[in-house]
Subunit: 331 residues, 2 copies
Amino acid sequence: MKKIINHPERVVTEMLEGLVAAYPNQLKLIDGRAVVTRKNVPVANKVGIISGGGSGHEPAHAGYVGQGMLDAAVAGEVFTSPTPDQILEAIKAVDSGKGVFMVVKNYTGDVMNFDMAAELAEMEGIQVDKVVVNDDVAVEDSTFTTGRRGIAGTILVHKIAGAKAEMGATLADVKAVAEKVVKNVRSMGMAISPCTPPAVGKPSFTLGENEMEIGLGIHGEPGTERKPLATADEIATELTDHIFKDMPLSSGDEVAVMINGLGATPEMELFIVNRKVNQILKEKGIGVYETFVGNFMTSLEMAGCSVTLLKLDDELKDLLAAHANTPAFKK
Amino acid sequence: MKKIINHPERVVTEMLEGLVAAYPNQLKLIDGRAVVTRKNVPVANKVGIISGGGSGHEPAHAGYVGQGMLDAAVAGEVFTSPTPDQILEAIKAVDSGKGVFMVVKNYTGDVMNFDMAAELAEMEGIQVDKVVVNDDVAVEDSTFTTGRRGIAGTILVHKIAGAKAEMGATLADVKAVAEKVVKNVRSMGMAISPCTPPAVGKPSFTLGENEMEIGLGIHGEPGTERKPLATADEIATELTDHIFKDMPLSSGDEVAVMINGLGATPEMELFIVNRKVNQILKEKGIGVYETFVGNFMTSLEMAGCSVTLLKLDDELKDLLAAHANTPAFKK
């Protein structure tokens, strides 16, 4: 295992310390809890927005803490759900009295622990609600999930729910718009090489020198098909085809596009994929309102990418365009 | 060679098409020349700022085209200098009559071709000047360079020269501040795995399972020392020590810090490095004005990182803080 780390057991703590050291005026770390919040929380008269999950998906989620997105992010160990205690800590830190909204990726452990934390918070008189993001069209159930997995589309839920909360919306209104995003966002990914969780010390799966896996999850969970490495254009076509099958789009529809790198994919390759996705959408008469290309939801040093399409209406467009200032996402 | 591409010969063109497709309102591509400019160039009454070099270092340089940074970027083939013709095209596209300033990384081919383009432009009556960035303290001469190499510190030259030009400064004033940055910026990198240029098809060098190379260049040029993989803290210490030896800093000095990933390094590891760099600076009483952590100047899918320190004065701080809106860098 080749990694630039000090000790496999300390990667999460040290990463968060390094993050907060980089943004001392914007972020703070709740000692010993692996919870990163905005410097000044709770934000008065605003629904608090939190997210989180296992680490190893950086910049998700602590990189999205800041104005216009999250109030706090809770980091579990690598590929491991955070505990209810940690999540409760985050909920309490960000509640201004207006309630707290949780953006949860659909993994069994995450959903269970966020729900448990919400129950504990409610016992302390804090109003809590949530959305479960399940944008991955690859497989119905997986190693870690009942139902579809939540992957890169989650960042667009952060952005839009965060913008809504920033405008002073109620908890119910934040939930309504977050559910609208979940209803209209779909993703699908693929990988050409695995990642190595630091505490495990060996790759999470193996792929032959000329193999790729389509539909792979962000923890290396199996996908739909393992086959010979195709061209970027063929990969872009296959991923978008899967999305279209699940969420038909018509000429005149408008979408936001996210081409997400899984950690070790050169930006060059992501832009080559975007080129084809853009061509495919144009040929179908689908308008591209905005495109995001980069590492948004990674899987340590996995090489591969995912494509996300979010079908937009005027409300979602306005919220997507709203100001945001976080380490990993600025508007 | 495992890459998400269509054809090794088309990677640069298709990447730039994919980039411009992602930012159609901000960028445009000069057909067949691999030159990316702002959508509306020349910007009236502003010194035009251009940069460029071999491809494979994305987001450098086309990702830095936009308000507050570059007016155009010229892309050579992977790890290959752009031609004087291409560079001339960029100069002509961005000249508003106030002259054009070139930010050139110190590689023999780049310097020669940018100089040749400048001469051609001057024959057409365009005033051109340049700065050569040589921030890498690792080695004095290298495979591709006489004198020190230009690496990630180049991005800070883009930022600061770009901000100065945006304020309406003259060509001479832009040059003066760019030279001040070059005088005060130092970088040093290391790698734990090589990259594979698409047209070559095999890794540019090999490293043993437990080896790292200190001082490696962004094209895989040899560094100062190959040795057993150390901890993140040891690596951070060694890189900053090399920088301090070359540019002594004193208690009370203020710096900007850039922790740059070479392409395949998980963000987790970059933040762990930043944690230690930040501690080292604090112990020395050196103030950290701002920190940048991410993939700014990469080497395809090389794994490794570089540390850059820029010693600041009030002018540099103001220019660093000024508004910028480019695909890869926003303020």
